[in-house]
Structures are given as structure tokens and as C-alpha cells.
């Protein structure tokens, strides 16, 4: 070695005589280069965790991913990542990932390895055998052409293209029980926002929050669950905005807010209803906005009776059968909407009931409910006693500050501060935003929670304007995408409802029943026909109704919880879990496992051996002795999944942006993408069925399934799938916009709201012009549905005459010279329709609305303060208690949502509530939630050492007062008990949880993160063991944000004693099969 490189030489000859700097540099230090600089390639990707959709740079060296970090070009994330995003390298390259196919034989105690090809053949065999054995050609005399013997769950963590193939293949096979996390997380968002505004997506986008003057975060722990999105709240705060956090707990979000409002879990409708009352009583609503852009002036029919008249229920309630006939909620002057072209027969009510059961409310994700024939009567003065504004005033008049205090535990002083902040920061010159997440959606009245916020924001004139809106915060990378291209039982792509056996025999009856007369949903037939052409190609012809008969039919609720009960009954025999872990993530997880234990076969595709894959050998029921591995006949296949760095595809983020991620490396071992899995499964099945003449096989054989494959693994081209989703014109050219779609079979389109994403043959989702080089709406970053519009309903950002409400809040405006709408965003309006346009009386479709109707997917073009149709549990939100509540309803005699969906079952017992005897056995209120450091049911975080060490154990958060009352020790153990199960967690005593005083009672709330399960690196009991299955009847979402329970010090019993403890509690509370099931 050259002596001149010796430190001593350098020390003596250089400027560093003390040898503390330059002279001390070692050889390694001299050669140091960051691995980002020595990488062979940088691949553009998107974070696979939540739905903020942070951009990632994936660095590849010698065929291996060596670093993953934020891509500063992204306008939403600006290069930043939260701890989970920062742990992506460990997630994708860590040792916890499985790379071999595993197989568990019936009754076996261990896994064995299986080669991939054999495993694929075996799964194809089972699908075909189960399908044949359980095939239903008819149900109740109606043609259904389906199987209820197979179900799938998962999709929100997968790419849009993967969801598309899952839905397409399963639907062709006649499998209707296709579901994903969106059911459990945000299905009520779709129904709530959809019925209010016409679309089920967030009305704004995250960067737009920086323009808000007031942000109310409620039902969301924004800073913890969406940390990188929260930077835009901080930007707003830095610009002087008021940030308010309404939440049962003081969280990391509250810590950064100007005001924290502690609220009793499950009482948000009362709180928001109180603000609505404040706004109406004080004449604080935005008059011009409300008068022109909402249905405030529309008159409701005479038969309507409000909760004010009927002590908490609306007219039309069928108490025996727990459903509403919504006909008395209709507008004056309108016929009723009926499922069969206005026909009224004896079975009408029955049909309505069954169809509403089938999740129909969720079909308003891209088009508001149909109104039927006629023209609604209005009173422009808004003084008519039956006009919506007056009805609304009366409905919310009892939601006084005192009522808010009695119901929510919020003092009138604190409540007034929220009202003042919102009113002060709304109007022509100012805007306020609401941000929420599953703290609102997961209730038996989840859809109505969202509706309440929608009504309030319409009254304040905050929809469609910069810095205004409702920001639904979704929590999986593509959970918006798995709703848009739905792996959901009740939907077809683009929120087209799945056809119903009782009503939708033909394409015509289907379209007539659902399409709106006016607005863009009036083009529904073109969307449906184009979808059928995309799926069945040349086989879809005008003379065969474009293969409309190939679609299997619904007969009611086939959502995931109903499917689990069908598994327990032995009706559903085969189950696919595609990146979802219901043994931890779904309510009443014991029910989930007992359902799986009764299956013939189970396919699990995931990164690691999650709880849903191994319950048969080490699940909680093995420990209690309820199940014995030897007795369990379920065959289990585990397929290792490819990570997002190992495949091409698009995620749709919480702001409806489709963002493409590129494959960085090939997946190792047997790991494969779900695109690969579905494509090759379909290929094998089609090969098996080739030549079949059975009618049920026609949809499978007619399917367009000829995607090009590429690479050494025969990976289907994700871009080819995206192009199919985008659609083709008569000339075979890629379509540019959904307005090109035709109902004559000359166009094809796999998802009409995504039409345009492959415009000009260019993958628009892969556009990555740096945010710093664009205006703040960043139109050239990725692609947003619809038509690349970033703020929905942005016509409302201008006054009726087309000029902005104020300079400060200008977004789009009418340019009289060019005769077009223009501005900072793509107008969400017919580009050349002037503000002065008024439709002819007979006009239909888009031209049926006027130049002042911003809600172009609503049948009347208006934001709905009152929903005359579309929801099954009422036209206006009303406070009801949670299913299991320590309280009577302080607002009405009616305690709970009278039409909530229950599953009375020995494994799913409910609690006595309020003043009922036995209610005091479960005196506390649990609310479940996420932590920053973990992800959903843990499959992508509890196996990561870096994330696990940050929050290593399951815990609960209790106030010092509750700890004193129950003898709970900080850092010690507590056992939580409900009528379903008991779990143990560590105790965190913290002043951040506070007892609330309401209605003369003190309520203690218990915070319970839900991430844990017995497998992985960080383990613990699952919070969802405690929850019951009690659902919002609109969309079948479970109530896990508020339910009663007991807590006691110490660890839970082991073995059979665990069930004994739960049974003791049931007995003590006097619980029977009917407890909690009253109307």
C-alpha cells in the first residue's frame, strides 16, 4: 500500500495535525458510495400500504431490490414516506416472505410442499368440481345461473388489473360471492357520498387541503393512519387554517390540531346534526349555493312522515320484516322508482326488499339513484312546509347544544367553538373541509354518518370548491380501485349494479330500472353494453342481449358476512383469500375461522403465513379445544404472492388517481402476481371446459381471455388488461372518453369510469411529470377518474352565472369568449354547456340538466340534502345507538337503526343495551383503530421487525379513572370480554382517554388497536374477536367503532376455560337468542 495513504503520513503532511478529520479517513470511508448511486436501475413505483399513494423509487442492483424510498416528483407525497412506507424494503425483501407453495391435506397436522403447476391444477379441479356440485340454474323460479359454493375475499391490496381479472373470471364461472376489504372499510362511503352527490369517491384531493380555512377531522386518525397525506393539513395550518379533531381519544392527530373535541364513540350523527341545526337556526347557510345547487327547494310528497312525527322512525317502516318501503319519501310530482319499468304488482314490496338487501345503495358510486318519471315540484322561496329545507329544519331542531351534550358528552362551550369555526370559515370567500375514515363508516348507521357530513357541507357551500369538500381517507393501496373495478358481490365495474334475479331478466329491464332519466347516468345502457363487449367480445351481439344472460344473478345479500354463515352451514365450500386476513381483520373472527373449518378447500395467497392460513393447526379454537386439527377436513393451499415491486399494475388512491407501478424484479420461487394466478387459473379452467356444451360453461368459454404473456414466468401483460379496461372504439382505437361509449355493441370498455386512462394508446396512469413543474392540481401526474378531474362537482366553485364565488376561491369558470368552461382543473361539467342553458321539458341524459346543475350524475343535478331514494334506512340521518350500547337513545324513543342487519346466531350473541337488565355487565364502550406503526390485520407489518419493534404488543388505552375503578395496572394485563369472546392485551393508562359525562352517566371508553393476531413476529390477541356482526343495511359494513364490553385486570383464561368465562358473562347478562334483536 502506498505509504502516502497512511493516516500518519497524511496527519503529518496535511492540515489535520491532530488526526481528527481528513487524515483519519479510512479506506472504507474513501470508497463509500450510497447504494442509490451504485444501483443499476431506478424503477418507479407506488407504496403498497395505505391509499395516499406515495410514489416510490425502487433501486435495483444485480437483479435485487436494494433500496426503496420516496420519489420527490410526486405531487401528493413529495418524496416522503411514513414508517410503513419506509419499511417497504424489509416487506419486499425480508426473510418473512414465503416462496414455496404449501399444501395441507384434509385432517393433516402439517404443511407439505407442492410444486406450483400441480397446485394450480388441483385448484382448477376443485373449482370445477365444487361449481358443478353446487350449480344453481334457478332460484325461486328465476334464472340465476350461479354457484354459491365458492367465494373469494380480497383485492384492496391488489392492482386494478388484478381486481378486473378476479371479477371477470369469477363472474363468468357464476361465482357471485366476490368480496374485498372495501366491504369492511368504505362501502358506506360509496352509498353515503353517492346518494348525496352522485359519486362515491372523495370529493377533493389531498393537496387541496392546503387551501382549506378550516379542517374538521372526525372519524379519522389522519396523522396516524395517513401520515404523508397529513402534510397537507400541516400546510393549511401553516397558512392559518383552524384544525379540529373530533375523536373519542386524544391521538397523534389531536396533538397537532388546534382543538380536540372528545366525543362518545357512536354519537357523531348527533354531533353533526347539532351543527346542521346551528347552521339552519342561525341562518348561517350559504344561501345562493343552497338555493341553486341543492334540493333544498324541492317539495316532498304528502305521505312523508319524519322521525319527529314517529319518535325516531320514518314513514314506511315494516316492523315485522325490518325494512322500509321508501315510496313515501319521494319528491312531490314524481312517480316511484320500481325495478320493472314502473310496474306495480303484488310482489312489488317483496322485490324492493330483496333488491335493497343486495347492497343496491353501493351502486351509486358513479351515479345517483334514479328518480323515476316526472318532474319534481319546487318552491324557489324555500318556504313551503314540505320543501326539503323546511323538513330539514324540523328534523334537526331537536339536535340542540344540550342534546349534543347529553348524547355526545361534549359541553355546549366546546360545541360552540366548532360551530363558530366552521361557519366563520365557510362562504364565498372561505372554505372548510371534512376528513374522515372508518371511524365513520363502520357503524350500523355508517352510510348515514357520511350523509350527515354531506348535508352539512352542502349547507355551508363547501362541495366542489378549492379547499372545500369531503376527504374520504381510504386505507389500502387500491381499495378505491377495488370498489371502482369491484371485487364486490353487488357491483359490476363502474358501479353498475349486479343484476338481480327478481327484476333483471333482460338488458332492457335492467337498464330501465336503474338508469336515471337525466344526467350522465342516463347513458347507463352504453356503459353496460360496452362492458359486456369487453368481457364476451364477439359472442356479445344485439340478438343475444350482448350476453347479458351470461351474468349470474343475485337474490339478496351475498356479502362476506353472509358468506361466512353459509360456510358454517356447509353451503359455501371453496374459498379464495387474496391478500386479506379475515381471521384477524373481520368482525367476530371466531366466526370467520369456524366458517373456514367447515370448507372443503381454501386457497390463501399472501406474503407470509397469516392467521387465515394456519388456523387449522394453531388458531385460538385449537387452544380452547373447540376445534381439533385431526377433525378438520379443509384442504388448504398457500400460494406465495408477488409484491408490488415484482409486478406491473395500477393502484387507485384515495383521491381516485390511478398510479402505475413498474415491475422492478421478477418474483422469486413460486411467488406470483394475482394477475398471473387468475389468468392461468382461467386458462386451465377454459382448457378443461373446451368442447363443453353445457349452458353454464358458455360464459367461461365465450370470455375474452387472450392476454399476451411476457417474461420467463408467462406473466400476462397488465397493460393489455388496462387497455381493455379503458376500452376500444369501432375502429379498434383506444377510447379517449366515456362519452364515446355506445349501446349498440360498437364499443367495448371494461370500466366506463376508467375510460380515458389509456387514451391515445398511452398509459396515462404512468404519467409522472414532477409536481414541482405543474400547477397545484398536477393534471399531468397519473390520471384521475372521471376524465382526469381532480375536484369533483367543481362547477359548484362558480356561481350560477359562471363566475367564481370569489377570487380567493376560484377553480373553474365560464369563459364567454371561447364558450367553454376553463380554470385550474378539468371541468366536471359538459365543457360547452353555458350557465344559461335550460333543458327542454322532454330532454333526457346530460342535456336534461341545466347549466347550473353541478351534480351531473344526480338525476336532478342537485346535491341531496334529503335523499328521496337510494338508501334503505332513511332519507335523512338520525342518531341511533350502536347495536351494543350502554345507553338508551337520548334523542328518540327508537333506540337503534330499526332496519340494521343482524345475524342472531349462537356464535354471534348481542348485548343488552341501555336500561335493559344485564346491560351493566358490559358497561364500557370499546372503539377499535389503527396505529401508524402497523397495517390493518397485520399481514404487511407484524412480520416486519422494524415495524414490530415500534409497537410490539397488543394493548388497550384506558383513562386513569377507569384504571382506578377496575384495578388496571399501567403496563400490566387486562382481559376484555364481550358476549362473543375474551382477549388479553397490555394496559396503557393515559390521560389521552377521558371519561365523558352525558345524560347523568359517566362513560368510560376503551381504545383498542386491532392489528394483532397469534402469528408473525409481533403477536397478540385480535380486537375483532370481541366484535359482533351487526351491519349497516345499505352496504353490509360491520359496526366495530363502538360496542360495549367489560374490562378486568389480569390475563385471560387458557384452554376451555376461555369459553367458560364468556359463557358466564352471557349468563350473567341474561343473553338469549333474541337479545338486542328488537326493532
Amino acid at each position: 500500500m502506498d505509504p502516502r495513504r497512511w493516516p500518519v503520513y497524511r496527519q503529518l503532511t496535511g492540515g489535520d495535525r491532530l488526526g481528527r478529520g481528513a487524515a483519519a479517513r479510512s479506506e472504507r470511508t474513501e470508497d463509500l458510495r450510497p447504494r442509490t448511486a451504485t444501483a443499476d436501475r431506478v424503477v418507479k413505483s407506488v407504496c403498497p400500504y395505505c391509499a395516499v399513494g406515495c410514489a416510490q423509487n425502487v433501486y435495483v442492483k444485480d437483479g435485487r431490490v436494494v433500496q426503496v424510498e420516496g420519489n420527490p416528483d410526486s405531487p401528493v407525497s413529495r418524496g416522503r414516506l411514513c414508517p410503513k412506507g419506509s419499511a417497504t424494503l424489509q416487506l419486499t425483501t425480508g426473510p418473512s416472505r414465503e416462496h414455496r407453495v404449501l399444501y395441507r391435506r384434509p385432517h393433516a397436522a402439517h404443511w407439505e410442499e407442492l410444486d406450483l403447476e400441480t397446485a394450480m391444477d388441483m385448484v382448477a379441479d376443485r373449482v370445477l368440481a365444487t361449481r358443478e356440485a353446487t350449480w344453481q340454474e334457478e332460484a325461486d323460479g328465476n334464472r340465476v345461473r350461479r354457484t354459491l359454493g365458492i367465494a373469494s375475499l380480497g383485492g384492496a391490496t391488489l392492482d386494478n388489473e388484478e381486481n378486473y381479472l378476479i371479477k371477470k373470471l369469477f363472474t363468468a364461472l357464476g361465482v357471485v360471492q366476490v368480496e374485498n376489504q372495501a366491504r369492511l372499510c368504505h362501502s358506506s362511503t360509496v352509498s353515503g357520498l353517492g346518494t348525496s352527490f352522485g359519486r362515491g369517491g372523495a370529493t377533493m384531493f389531498l393537496q387541496d387541503l392546503q387551501h382549506s380555512d378550516c379542517i374538521v377531522i372526525q372519524g379519522s386518525n389522519f396523522a396516524e393512519a395517513h401520515p404523508v397525506g397529513f402534510q397537507w393539513v400541516m400546510e393549511a395550518k401553516a397558512r392559518g387554517a383552524t384544525v379540529i379533531h373530533v375523536d373519542p381519544r386524544f391521538t397523534r392527530t389531536s396533538a397537532l390540531a388546534d382543538l380536540h373535541v372528545p366525543i362518545r364513540a357512536g354519537s357523531d350523527i348527533a354531533f353533526l346534526g347539532g351543527i346542521i341545526n346551528h347552521v339552519l337556526q342561525n341562518d348561517a347557510y350559504f344561501h345562493d349555493y343552497v338555493a341553486n345547487y341543492t334540493n333544498a327547494s324541492t317539495i316532498v310528497c304528502e305521505e312523508f312522515q319524519d322521525t319527529e312525527d314517529l319518535d325516531g322512525v320514518f314513514s314506511g317502516l315494516n316492523r315485522e320484516r325490518h325494512y322500509y318501503d321508501p315510496r313515501s319519501w319521494r319528491y312531490e310530482g314524481m312517480g316511484t322508482v320500481s325495478p320493472a319499468s314502473g310496474a306495480r304488482d303484488a310482489e312489488y314490496e317483496e322485490r324492493m326488499h330483496r333488491i335493497s338487501d343486495s347492497g343496491h345503495s353501493e351502486s351509486h358510486g358513479a351515479g345517483g339513484p334514479a328518480l323515476g318519471p316526472g318532474t319534481p315540484e319546487t318552491d324557489p322561496t324555500m318556504r313551503h312546509p314540505r320543501c326539503v329545507l323546511q323538513i330539514l329544519k324540523r328534523h334537526y331542531s331537536r339536535y340542540t347544544p344540550e342534546m349534543v351534550q347529553r348524547t355526545c358528552g361534549i359541553t355546549p362551550e366546546l360545541f360552540a367553538r366548532v360551530c363558530d369555526a366552521l361557519v366563520r370559515n365557510s362562504g364565498p370567500d372561505r372554505t372548510s373541509a371534512f376528513a374522515y375514515a372508518v371511524g365513520w363508516t363502520q357503524h350500523t348507521v355508517g352510510s348515514q354518518y357520511i350523509r350527515t357530513a354531506s348535508i352539512l357541507q352542502l349547507l355551508l357551500g363547501n362541495i366542489g370548491r378549492p379547499g372545500g369538500g369531503i376527504q374520504a381517507l381510504r386505507g389500502h393501496a387500491s381499495i378505491q380501485g377495488s370498489s371502482d373495478i369491484p371485487t364486490l358481490f353487488d357491483l359490476l365495474p363502474g358501479y353498475i349494479p349486479m343484476p338481480h334475479a327478481h327484476a333483471h331478466e333482460t338488458l332492457d329491464s335492467f337498464v330501465v330500472a336503474d338508469s336515471a332519466q337525466k344526467g350522465y347516468w342516463g347513458n347507463m345502457r352504453a356503459y353496460v353494453v360496452s362492458l359486456l363487449k369487453a368481457w364476451w367480445g364477439d359472442a356479445a351481439r344485439p340478438d343475444n342481449d350482448f350476453c347479458f344472460g351470461h351474468l349470474p344473478r343475485l337474490t339478496g345479500d351475498h356479502s362476506t358476512y353472509t358468506t361466512v354463515l353459509a360456510q358454517m352451514r356447509g353451503e359455501c365450500k371453496g374459498y379464495f383469500l387474496l391478500g386479506e386476513n379475515p381471521a384477524v381483520g373481520s368482525a367476530n373472527t371466531r366466526l370467520q375461522r369456524l366458517g373456514m373449518a367447515n370448507l372443503d378447500w381454501l386457497v390463501v395467497r399472501d406474503f407470509s403465513l397469516i392467521e387465515s392460513a394456519t388456523w387449522w393447526k394453531d388458531g385460538p379454537e385449537i387452544e380452547t379445544g373447540e376445534l381439533n386439527t385431526r377433525d378438520i377436513a379443509t384442504e388448504v393451499f398457500f400460494f406465495p404472492a408477488a409484491s408490488h415491486t415484482e409486478k406491473n399494475g395500477s393502484f387507485t388512491n384515495t383521491n381516485r388517481w390511478l398510479q402505475w407501478h413498474d415491475e422492478a424484479v421478477e418474483p422469486a420461487g413460486d411467488a406470483r402476481s394475482d394477475l398471473w394466478f387468475m389468468y392461468h387459473l382461467g386458462r386451465i379452467i377454459r382448457e378443461r371446459l373446451a368442447g363443453s356444451t353445457a349452458a353454464r360453461d358458455r360464459p367461461v368459454l365465450d370470455l375474452t381471455w387472450d392476454y399476451p404473456v411476457e417474461g420467463p414466468l408467462d406473466e400476462p401483460s397488465a397493460e393489455a388488461v388496462l387497455a381493455e379496461i379503458n376500452g376500444y372504439g369501432p375502429d379498434g382505437a383506444h377510447l379517449a372518453t366515456s362519452s364515446q361509449l355506445r349501446d349498440d355493441g360498437t364499443t367495448s370498455c371494461g370500466c366506463w369510469i376508467y375510460c380515458g386512462v389509456y387514451k391515445d394508446g398511452v398509459n396515462q396512469a404512468a404519467r409522472r411529470k414532477p409536481g414541482s413543474e405543474q400547477i397545484w392540481t398536477a393534471p399531468e401526474w397519473a390520471w384521475a377518474w372521471p376524465e382526469n378531474r381532480r375536484v369533483l362537482y367543481n362547477r359548484a366553485s362558480a356561481a350560477p352565472d359562471g363566475t367564481p364565488w370569489s377570487d380567493r376561491k376560484a377553480l373553474i369558470w365560464w369563459d364567454g369568449e371561447t364558450g367553454r368552461w376553463t380554470g385550474h382543473d378539468v371541468p366536471d361539467f359538459k365543457l360547452d354547456m353555458p350557465p344559461s342553458y335550460r333543458p327542454d321539458p322532454g330532454a333526457t341524459g346530460p342535456m336534461g340538466l341545466s347549466g347550473t346543475d353541478p351534480f351531473i350524475l344526480q338525476a336532478d343535478g342537485k346535491g341531496w340534502l334529503f335523499a328521496p331514494t337510494g338508501l334503505v334506512d332513511g332519507p335523512m340521518p338520525t342518531h341511533y345507538e350502536p347495536q351494543d350500547s350502554p345507553f338508551d337513545n337520548p334523542v328518540y324513543g327508537q333506540r337503534r337503526n330499526p332496519v340494521r342487519q343482524l345475524f342472531p346466531n349462537p356464535y354471534n350473541r348481542y348485548h343488552p343495551s341501555g336500561s335493559d337488565p344485564g346491560s351493566d355487565v358490559f358497561p364500557y364502550l370499546i372503539t377499535t383503530y389503527r396505529l401508524t406503526e402497523h397495517f390493518t390485520a397485520g399481514g404487511m407489518s407484524r412480520w416486519s421487525p422494524y415495524l414490530s419493534e415500534l409497537q410490539p404488543e397488543a394493548f388497550c388505552e384506558v383513562s386513569p379513572e377507569l384504571a382506578d375503578a377496575r384495578g388496571l395496572e399501567h403496563g400490566g394485563w387486562a382481559t376484555l370480554v364481550t358476549a362473543r369472546n375474551a382477549i388479553e392485551v397490555r394496559v396503557m393508562v393515559t390521560r389521552r382517554v377521558r371519561p365523558l359525562r352525558l345524560n347523568g352517566q359517566v362513560v368510560h371508553q376503551i381504545g383498542l388497536p386491532y392489528h394483532w393476531g397469534p402469528n408473525g413476529y409481533s403477536t397478540g390477541d385480535s380486537a375483532n374477536e370481541l366484535a359482533s356482526v351487526a351491519l349497516d343495511p345499505n352496504v353490509h359494513i360491520q359496526e366495530v367503532k363502538a360496542f360495549s364490553a367489560d374490562i378486568r385486570p389480569g390475563r385471560r383464561p387458557r384452554g376451555a376455560a376461555l369459553r367458560t368465562l364468556v359463557e358466564e358473562y352471557q349468563e350473567r347478562a341474561g343473553i338469549t337468542a333474541t337479545t338486542g334483536t328488537e326493532v
Binding site: G14, G15, D16, R17, L18, R20, G21, A22, A23, A24, S26, E27, R28, T29, L32, R33, P34, T36, A37, Q67, E69, G70, R80, L81, C82, P83, K84, S86, A87, A223, E224, P227, F230, Q231, M234, F250, R252, A255, L256, T411, E413, L414, L931, T932, P945, E949, L950, Q951, P952, E953, F955, H970, G971, R986, T990, R991, R992, R994, R997, S1018
Partner: protein
């Protein structure tokens, strides 16, 4: 200008770096920290630091507990009762969060005491352990006035934040600062950061946040100012930071002086004794 204490304007040049770039540093503005711990994970991912234990501490959301060989960023969580006047008679709560890190002192005792030259001052003015040189003697560990540097059980060597020295060389910012979702961790030329921090404090004072203060920004403090300094919302002690850190080698010259005098005295005495002895 002292080598071991007092103000120091150009640490890099003083350590023999010719025409060094501006001194780089961290300004951690805890008033916008959301306690997400992205900094901890991004640091561990970039530097391949081992996971170090699944301990549920009960210290609010802090399960990392302290900086050490395997935690180069540490987010502290402090829950405090505060009057909130919402009318229900119970105090409210304030939740402070702050991401701590090696201070990259102007006078870094760890470096001063390192006998091998493993710890060195980089051209950016930061203090970095060279893992190929460190022999695990551990002198640096008690020398640090903040308790930052620590030996790793598994390999015996000392480890701490390098301010991502490798990344800096390529014009990148450190992993923690890059990930930070709310820009609580800011990286840049130290002088710029100090100016920015001063105006941020002033802004918070105007906004009524009278508790806002800077920590480690002052070149006249006991370590000559930190290369990584903080905006705090309470006293340093609240966050587990020493209120008045002093470079532990500050008194080394004096100590050497005293030791020298003592040695001379002793030598003189011995000489005298031996001389007297010879006389006898």
C-alpha cells in the same frame, strides 16, 4: 478559538479539510412532529441497523426508549396534563413528540477521546464512526454528554448516526429527513437552518406558543453548538435532553496542565530527594 471548547466557525477546515462544503446539519422542529417514527424506520432501512427488541415499555408510544447502537433516531413521546377549559373541570392533555438524534457537536468529545481515529470529523462538519477502524474500546461512550453513542452487543463496535455520510457525498439528504412526512426533520447548511429556526420560533411566539424555544443552536453553549439542533415546546429535561450539556473534554487542557504541574512537582521532588540522598 479553542480546539476542545468554545465557539468554532469552521469545524471542517479545522479538521484539515481543504475548501470544505458548508457545515450541514439537522433542524428538528418538534412543533410539527406527528410521532410517526418514519425517521426511525428510514434510518434503520438505509443503514441496515438491527431490530433491537420487542419491549412494550408503557412509555406512551415510545418503545424505542433511547438512542443507542441500534437506534440512531428516537422519537420521544411526552404526555402532559394541561388546563383546557372546555368546561368539564378535568385537565386536558398535551402530547409532545420529538425525534432525537446524535447532535454532531461542534466540540465532539467522542471524537476527541477516540484513540484509533475511527471517529472523525467529515468535510460536512459531521461526526462519523468508521466501522472498519473502530476497535470497540468504548472510550467514546462515557465521553458523549448526551448519551448517544453506544457499543453494539453483537460486534463490540461503537455505532451512532452518521447523518447518512454516504448519501451526503452523492448530494442526497439523510434518510430520516427525506422520509419525514411533515418536514419536522429538516436537513441543510447549518447556518441556513439556524436562521430558519430563529424565524420559526418568532412565528410561534407571535402565535401565542410562548414555550417554543431552540435547543443546541447556540455556538456559545457547552459543546460549541450542535450540528443537529431542535425546536422544543418545553424544557430540554422534559424530552430527556441535558439542559446544559458540556463537552466532557472541555477541561482536558486544564487537566493536562494540572497533571503536568503535578508531574513536574513530583519529578522535582524525586530529583530533590535523590540529590539530597546523593549528598548524604
Amino acid at each position: 478559538m479553542g480546539l476542545l471548547s468554545g465557539p468554532e466557525t469552521n469545524v471542517a477546515a479545522d479538521a484539515g479539510h481543504v475548501d470544505p462544503p458548508p457545515r450541514m446539519g439537522f433542524f428538528t422542529d418538534t412543533s410539527v412532529c406527528i410521532g410517526c417514527k418514519a425517521c426511525e424506520v428510514a434510518c434503520k432501512e438505509w443503514n441496515a441497523i438491527p431490530e433491537d427488541g420487542l419491549a412494550f415499555t408503557g412509555w406512551s408510544y415510545d418503545n424505542t426508549q433511547e438512542l443507542g447502537s441500534d437506534s440512531w433516531r428516537h422519537v420521544a413521546f411526552i404526555e402532559q396534563p394541561v388546563p383546557d377549559g372546555d368546561g368539564d373541570g378535568r385537565d386536558g392533555v398535551r402530547w409532545l413528540m420529538a425525534s432525537d438524534v446524535c447532535k454532531h457537536c461542534t466540540h465532539a468529545a467522542c471524537l476527541d477521546v477516540c484513540p484509533t481515529g475511527s471517529l472523525f470529523r467529515t468535510e460536512y462538519g459531521t461526526v462519523v464512526v468508521q466501522e472498519d477502524i473502530c476497535n470497540g474500546c468504548g472510550y467514546c461512550v462515557p465521553a458523549c454528554p448526551y448519551g448517544v453513542i453506544e457499543r453494539r452487543e453483537e460486534d463490540g463496535r461503537a455505532w451512532k448516526c452518521t447523518m447518512c455520510y454516504d448519501r451526503l457525498g452523492d448530494g442526497l439528504e439523510p434518510a430520516c429527513a427525506k422520509a419525514c412526512p411533515t418536514d419536522s426533520i429538516q436537513f441543510g447548511p447549518l447556518e441556513e437552518l439556524r436562521t430558519r429556526a430563529a424565524s420559526r420560533v418568532a412565528q410561534l411566539h407571535v402565535a401565542g406558543v410562548s414555550d417554543a424555544r431552540l435547543y443546541g443552536h447556540d455556538p456559545a453553549d457547552g459543546v460549541g453548538g450542535d450540528g443537529a439542533f431542535f425546536l422544543l415546546l418545553d424544557t430540554p429535561e422534559t424530552y430527556g435532553l441535558p439542559p446544559d450539556p458540556v463537552v466532557t473534554t472541555r477541561d482536558l487542557p486544564a487537566m493536562w496542565r494540572y497533571a503536568g504541574i503535578a508531574a513536574l512537582t513530583l519529578f522535582g521532588g524525586i530529583t530533590a530527594v535523590s540529590m539530597f540522598g546523593r549528598r548524604r
